[in-house]
């Protein structure tokens, strides 16, 4: 198992290098001159332009710039200097990361906390009124853009009722400041998880071993939690993993709407300002996050499904067996 995890981590490196190459190429070949953007029309002189271009290393050939960038990223964690704010992109991302991580984590927890039980109830009470209500509500949220839902929440709970703060204000942020961002991000992602849970549970609940368990007199609650759920979780985990990518991407808009100082908001500002170092840094960080999340989901498979864990271990054992046999020969 450890070998599998290490192998997956090592595979992340070429993925990240590929992402760096793509984003670097995009920003390098994008039309326009960032130095002119930085200087502005009022600050431009030929001397300042030449000096700044040299200072930023933009007068170097493509591969020199690319290699310098990779070296800085991997050895110093330096994503460069923001064209718009003239400060370190790494420092800005490090400062913004906790907010994005918290938002993502709370959203995932809420999403799973709602979708799993609702999916199970929906499956257990198939075709009932409860099932239909849950289905309709989940379809409703699936079809609603999260940014629009966020604005509706703000209008209703902040502007009209004044129950919750309209945005995340650094100086006066409390747990109430997290409610609407988390709800808007999680509810709109919950639908597919709910639907997958429902169909997965339905498939498992019809199996013979479930009937056997019931026949043995095990309570329905225990049947669901100990027998059905464990077997139904694999496809659900897959969908949750996919939704994590959506939550990471969706948080960009939600953070902007609620003015949360996270990576998403920073990235939106960077895009508006055509701040390529910041965009590159944010894309890289988000790519790494998705790689890590996918890895975690894969590792979770092994713990949820003992067959997968055994399969890895058998592969390892068979490899050792083969080597011993060769050595004996």
């Amino acid at each position: 198992m450890a070998k599998y995890i290490i192998k997956r981590i090592l595979w992340m490196i070429p993925v990240i290098l590929g992402v760096i190459l793509i984003v670097f190429c995009i920003s390098y070949f994008a039309p326009g001159d960032p130095v002119i953007t930085m200087l502005g029309t009022n600050g431009y002189t030929l001397e300042k332009y030449t000096a700044l271009r040299h200072e930023l290393g933009l007068d170097q050939p493509f591969f020199v710039q690319y290699l310098n960038y990779i070296r800085n990223v991997f050895t110093k964690g330096d994503f460069g200097t923001s064209y718009a704010y003239h400060n370190s992109v790494s420092a800005a991302i490090v400062e913004a990361a906790p907010y994005s991580l918290k938002l993502g984590l709370y959203s995932i927890i809420l999403m799973v906390a709602i979708a799993l039980p609702a999916g199970i109830i929906s499956a257990v009470k198939q075709y009932s009124v409860t099932d239909n209500i849950i289905t309709v509500v989940s379809m409703f949220f699936a079809g609603m853009p999260n940014f629009w839902f966020a604005v509706l929440l703000v209008l209703f709970f902040s502007v009209n009722l004044n129950w919750l703060p309209a945005s995340y204000m650094q100086s006066s942020a409390t747990w109430k400041s997290w409610i609407m961002p988390v709800v808007s991000l999680s509810l709109t992602s919950m639908a597919s998880v709910l639907r997958m849970t429902r169909s997965s549970v339905l498939e498992v609940i019809r199996q013979d071993y479930i009937r056997t368990a019931r026949a043995k007199g095990i309570s329905e609650h225990r049947v669901i939690t100990h027998h059905v759920l464990k077997n139904a979780l694999i496809p659900v985990l897959t969908v949750v993993g996919m939704q994590l990518g959506g939550i990471i991407g969706g948080s960009i808009v939600i953070e902007t709407i609620f003015n949360m100082p996270g990576i998403g908001n920073y990235m939106m500002s960077a895009i508006s300002n055509r701040d390529y170092p910041a965009i590159n840094g944010c894309v890289l960080v988000l790519s790494i996050s998705i790689c890590v999340v996918n890895l975690l989901v894969d590792v979770l498979y092994a713990y949820v499904d003992p067959r997968i864990k055994a399969q890895y271990e058998n592969q390892q054992k068979s490899w050792f067996k083969k080597k011993r046999a060769e050595a004996a020969q």
């Binding site: 502005g40 003239h86 902040s158 100086s171 006066s172 003015n259 939106m268 500002s269």
Partner: protein, 549 residues
């Protein structure tokens, strides 16, 4: 029955969302054209309620004042290349002179000043008991350093133009500073106005350099506030200093001011409506319109200079626009109010000169009437018509407002026989076009200059001596001569006569079409704040707010 319940539930949910749709006003930003509201703002000096309220009638300041802005958070270095936080500068630093709530130029720092007999020098004396937040005593050296920094680090719009002062030969001696002027008494007589400059601690500024992060996190100033918290690119928290050198017991300052930058205008305005914000600087045009119509409960507004005049400038040396008839056709063939409304919604005034109307040197030369018949006649004189159209190219910046104005111009010029092709691209691509003189015309935004509203600074960019030769440069001897004479003028009134000549000449010769004076606004909670002081009508001075009693 089950199906009926589901259907009912679905219909209810859909209706609920449609209700939400109806109540959500567009918050799409400033490029939305208004429908029934009069687009032009009558008077940048006026506002809805503040005419009857004076700064002195104030309740106690709240402990915390929450301010939002859609600009970048900015630096507390007044010359930061990344942009400065205008409101924050007032809080952290003292200024040599500033406009008080009665729009009088006053100083907390300068005790007296005196001109030399020949008018070529002014000596000012400062208080001896002024201390920066690091304990250093302010002297004349700091004043001189602060003035010299405006020249060294001049970024254009936010700095005063000290070309007329000979700062290299000016001296500081203890608590006195003697400023030499290069030319005439004009510079000296304008001195207080030009000296709306923040006072920096020379020793500290030199030790950290201009690019230090300390300008954001821990700037050293002599002003009433210090930075107690800073989130990169997002927010400042300013706290009243316990050791402020001036006795402000008769002033009404909040203990804490939270300043937040918003990337979305709509979010900022919703925060204001919800009461989380007390002051919102530069709201979107659509939100301002709501405030003007009274649709937002407990939200009021005051206008602020936009500090930008929008021009259409021509390549009058090459191509079709070298012919004055073509320029006249363009000037009269477009309804410039339509163009302004498309670009800025309600946030504009009709421009009536090359200079913004709040400039002391401004004269009303009028604007070009929308007269398509006259435009067609002028175009025919140039040899073009609707049957033989003229094709022109224009390069515009990337934002929605630029594109909207280009679209309106294109459609209206098409009716008189001009095919306008515009190309919108990032500034990094567009600016080189302007520098190369590409395109037959372009839309330029003239920065309105510093808080001193000095016309010389504006017209310098039009002259042949401009640092950057772009499509604004008219390079005509008339402008160069007038500028040189204005510099040598003995009084402000005399200088203004030359500036007036420039404005008239530009208008009569159709050298630029100045079609819009951008206006901005500050929205605020009227249940908390009764008056906001806007010095020079440029930027709110958060020290001088009056609160509801």
């Amino acid at each position: 029955m089950k199906r009926f319940v589901c259907l009912l539930l679905t219909v209810s949910l859909v209706l609920a969302s449609l209700t939400g749709c109806g109540e959500v006003k567009s918050a799409s930003g400033s490029n939305t054209t208004t429908s029934n509201t009069t687009a032009a703002v009558a008077n940048t000096q006026g506002n809805k309620n503040q005419a009857n309220v004076t700064a002195t009638s104030s309740g106690p300041a709240p402990d915390v004042l929450n301010v939002g802005s859609t600009n970048t958070i900015g630096s507390l270095c007044p010359y930061a290349s990344a942009g400065e936080n205008g409101a924050g500068l007032f809080l952290v630093y003292d200024m040599i002179f500033y406009y008080d709530t009665k729009d009088q130029l006053v100083s907390d720092v300068v005790t007296d000043y005196k001109f030399s007999d020949d008018g070529f020098a002014v000596t000012l004396n400062i208080r001896h008991d002024i201390y920066f937040s690091n304990g250093v005593n302010m002297t004349g050296e700091d004043i001189l350093y602060s003035l010299a920094s405006t020249k060294d680090k001049a970024r254009g719009a936010v700095t005063t133009n000290f070309d007329q002062f000979d700062l290299d030969n000016s001296t500081a001696d203890g608590y006195s500073v003697t400023l030499k002027t290069k030319s005439t008494a004009t510079a000296a007589s304008q001195f207080p106005n030009l000296s709306q400059v923040v006072i920096l601690c020379k020793s500290w500024a030199e030790s950290v350099g201009w690019d230090s992060d300390d300008w954001y996190k821990n700037p050293v100033g002599s002003g009433p506030y210090k930075v107690s918290n800073y989130t990169t690119n997002k927010s400042y928290q300013f706290t009243l200093r316990d050791d402020y050198w001036l006795d402000i017991s008769d002033r009404n300052y909040p203990k804490t001011i939270n300043f937040t930058a918003y990337s979305e205008e709509a979010t900022m305005y919703m925060d204001l409506e919800a009461g989380s914000l007390d002051v919102a600087i530069e709201p979107a045009s659509t939100d301002l319109e709501r405030a003007m119509k009274g649709e937002s409960k407990n939200v009021d507004y005051v206008f602020v200079n936009g500090n930008v005049d929008d021009w259409i400038v021509f390549d009058y040396e090459n191509g079709p626009c070298a012919d004055i008839n073509v320029r006249k056709a363009i000037a009269h063939g477009v309804n410039w109010e339509d163009v302004a409304a498309a670009g800025k919604g309600v946030k504009y005034n009709k421009a009536t000169s090359t200079l913004p109307s709040y400039f002391p040197a401004y004269v009303n030369v009028g604007n070009y009437d929308y007269d398509p018949d006259l435009a067609k006649q002028c175009l025919e004189k140039a040899g073009y018509s609707t049957k033989n159209p003229l094709t022109l190219t224009m390069y515009v910046g990337p934002n929605d407002g630029n594109i909207a104005t280009a679209v309106v111009m294109q459609s209206e010029l098409a009716q008189i026989g001009i095919n306008l092709k515009y190309e919108s691209a990032e500034m990094a691509t567009t600016v080189p076009h302007w520098l190369n003189g590409d395109g037959d015309l372009s839309s330029q935004a003239l920065q309105g200059g510093s808080m001193a509203h000095d016309a010389y600074w504006v017209f310098k960019d039009l002259s042949s001596t401009a640092t950057m030769k772009d499509s604004r440069t008219i390079s005509d001897k008339t402008i160069d001569d007038c500028l040189a004479k204005a510099l040598l003028a003995k009084t402000t009134a005399e200088a203004n006569e030359y500036y007036a000549q420039i404005q008239k000449w530009v208008y009569d010769n159709y050298r630029v079409v100045s079609y819009m004076e951008e206006v901005n606004a500050v929205c605020y909670r009227s249940d908390k704040i009764s008056f906001i002081h806007i010095p020079s009508k440029d930027y709110p001075d958060l020290r001088f707010l009056s609160y509801v009693q």
